[in-house]
């Protein structure tokens, strides 16, 4: 019995450690810590604060705490719009029409502090992928152009209107027309394996490539469970433009995957 308990605790420790490792993989998009990320995003395209640039009401978000929870309420937090805070289930009245079957339920997406990257990938061909999260705005609503019309979701490589890059010709009224976009939410690792003459093999199922971005900083062209998603190329924590992860030149980003 004692031994069983010991083994269980050991496994628990291992799983907590691997969860921590998982968190670390998420952090490259947070280069410079949350303070720097926040500063970079202020007044950028993903700053949705009502006065676009308000100093938000964060609590302790020192660099030692990589993923702080906003202590502010309502719309004032810059991060809240995507990294939605948990709501304690306690204190919420049970649904009046489902006093038994829906008591204490939450909707699942925010069980993880890194909600979007690690909480979203469960089934890359159908749903719950990172790109779906982006498309919850870039469907013609908050993102004014309906990228969802052209992104192949769900999913595959043969959607309408895809693959016209670069994007620089697509600026309309100061916003990016996302009607000519690259396919997302497909298995890059599988695709590259099947087409080795055209595509470079991924380093692993978390990245295609990592290295110097041309200006001395390290960049990573990331995959999620081997799949290409919007943030493979775009860092959503951008200050302006389309936030390419390898921004020194369009071509250099392309050739991390494409051989020709």
């Amino acid at each position: 019995m004692k031994r069983m308990l010991f083994v269980f605790i050991a496994l628990l420790v291992v799983s907590v450690w691997s969860y921590g490792q998982n968190l670390k993989q998420v952090l490259p998009t947070m280069t410079g810590g949350t303070q720097a990320t926040r500063a970079a995003m202020l007044k950028g395209p993903h700053d949705f604060t009502p006065d676009s640039g308000a100093v938000n009401t964060f609590g302790d978000d020192s660099l030692g705490n990589p993923v702080p929870h906003p202590t502010g309420t309502g719309a004032k937090g810059l991060c809240n719009y995507c990294h939605s805070p948990h709501v304690p289930k306690e204190g919420i009245s049970p649904p009046l029409w489902a006093r038994v079957s829906q008591v204490g339920k939450t909707f699942g997406y925010y069980q993880d502090v890194n909600t979007i990257p690690s909480g979203y990938i469960t089934d890359p061909g159908t749903s719950d992928n990172y790109s779906s999260f982006c498309l919850s705005c870039h469907d013609g609503s908050a993102g004014i152009f309906a990228a969802s019309a052209y992104v192949v979701a769900p999913f595959g490589l043969t959607g309408g209107g895809a693959t016209q890059v670069p994007y620089s010709a697509n600026v309309v009224n100061g916003e990016f027309d996302l009607q000519h976009v690259h396919p997302v939410n497909f298995s890059y690792t599988g695709f590259a394996t099947n087409n080795p003459q055209e595509f470079y093999a991924a380093e692993n199922d978390q990245r295609v490539w990592t290295g110097d971005n041309g200006s001395g900083a390290t960049t990573t062209v990331r995959l999620w469970a081997g799949t290409m998603q919007c943030p493979t190329c775009h860092n959503p924590h951008m200050n302006s433009g389309i936030g390419l992860v390898y921004s020194s030149s369009y071509g250099k980003l392309c050739v991390t995957c494409h051989k020709k």
Partner: protein
């Protein structure tokens, strides 16, 4: 040793599974082919009815085979449906980011891309509303609201070119012969007469009462009160027929009665308020005192779920229509029993 390891592994797997799926929300059960919410022992309130995909829905039998031979099969189908409104005589009008404006006629059993007849640049259709035989469609590319008839012929326009940068919802108030336009770039609700005369404007960008941060959709109750989804303030605001702020409810979060990406809104005949959420992938139902009643749906491509649902409408029979954007379909539900119970 190996047995205790196995037991430990199983226990750990169970714990991890509980952690991963335990908060997944209540899913509908499929009983004798029916999908209903909520699950027993609670009383069933909402039932899944059918999925609308497009022309193929009516392509059965000989007619379907003939049109298939003629190469017509599935020409018109929903790909990225955005907004939906219910008109008279079983007609549904839908905007689709790929297909433009679609008339889905359940009585005549036909699906028509009516936008082609307007003779205008129809790129980026957004909100769509219906009243007094007219269809009102917000078009982002021209920044105006088009008025078209049942057949798709252009009748007129509301607004000057580029006046409405992103008219995400358009709703007709037939009692007052008005049209409400929600624009999430102006962060306003704009009231017009059906002829296109400006009446009044609600709000500006902000987080105070009566202000908006990316308003997304609008619905009316029987008294004509105006319910607005104020998406990035994570709330619903209610205004009277003159545009005066009345009340609000909702907050951001991951539990029920909270919003993550609130999108569509509709009311049933009992005055219950339905709010669709593009990240929670469900709609939540509140009564008119803002008490939380039920949620319906989860992230799925199956018939009990949605993937980025955008808009919803409820007709006079309490039939519920949801544009299921990334699944490329319209999901239809029926309210079975809507009265308040205490």
């Amino acid at each position: 040793m190996s047995r205790s390891l196995l037991v430990s592994l199983l226990a750990l797997a169970a714990a991890v599974a509980a952690l991963l799926t335990g908060c997944g929300g209540t899913r509908a059960i499929e009983k004798e082919g029916r999908i209903i919410w909520p699950e027993p022992p609670d009383t069933a309130r909402i039932a899944y009815v059918q999925t609308l995909k497009g022309e193929d829905d009516f392509s059965t039998g000989l007619a379907g085979a003939l049109s298939a031979i003629a190469g017509k099969k599935g020409v018109v189908k929903f790909l990225r449906p955005f907004d939906i409104c219910v008109a008279d005589d079983g007609k549904l009008f839908v905007t689709d980011a790929v297909q433009g404006i679609i008339l889905y006629d359940t009585k005549k059993r036909e699906v028509l891309p009516i936008g082609e007849k307007v003779g205008e640049e129809l790129k980026d259709p957004r909100g769509i509303g219906y009243g007094h035989g007219k269809v009102f469609v917000g078009i982002a590319s021209i920044g105006q609201v088009l008025i078209i008839d049942n057949e798709g012929r252009g009748i007129g326009k509301i607004g000057t070119p580029k006046q409405f940068p992103n008219p995400v919802d358009v709703v007709a108030d037939t009692m007052r012969s008005r049209v409400y336009i929600v624009d999430n770039r102006l962060h306003q609700v704009l009231a017009y007469s059906e002829k296109g005369d400006s009446l009044f404007t609600i709000g500006r960008r902000g987080a105070e009462d009566g202000e908006f941060n990316y308003p997304q959709s609008l619905a009316l109750d029987k008294q004509g009160s105006i319910y607005v989804v104020d998406a990035f303030n994570y709330r619903v605001q209610v205004f009277d027929t003159t545009g005066k702020f009345m009340r609000k409810f909702g907050k951001q979060g991951d539990a029920y009665a909270t919003f993550a990406r609130p999108k569509g809104i509709a009311l049933d005949s009992f005055g219950n308020i339905y709010v669709l959420d593009g990240i929670h992938n469900n709609f939540q139902i509140f009564n008119n005192a803002s008490d939380f009643l039920l949620f319906v749906g989860h992230s799925s491509a199956k018939n009990d779920g949605f993937q980025n649902p955008v808009s919803m409408a409820i007709d006079g029979n309490n039939t519920i229509y949801v544009t299921d954007n990334l699944n490329g379909r319209i999901q239809v539900f029926q309210l079975l029993f809507g009265q308040r119970t205490e």
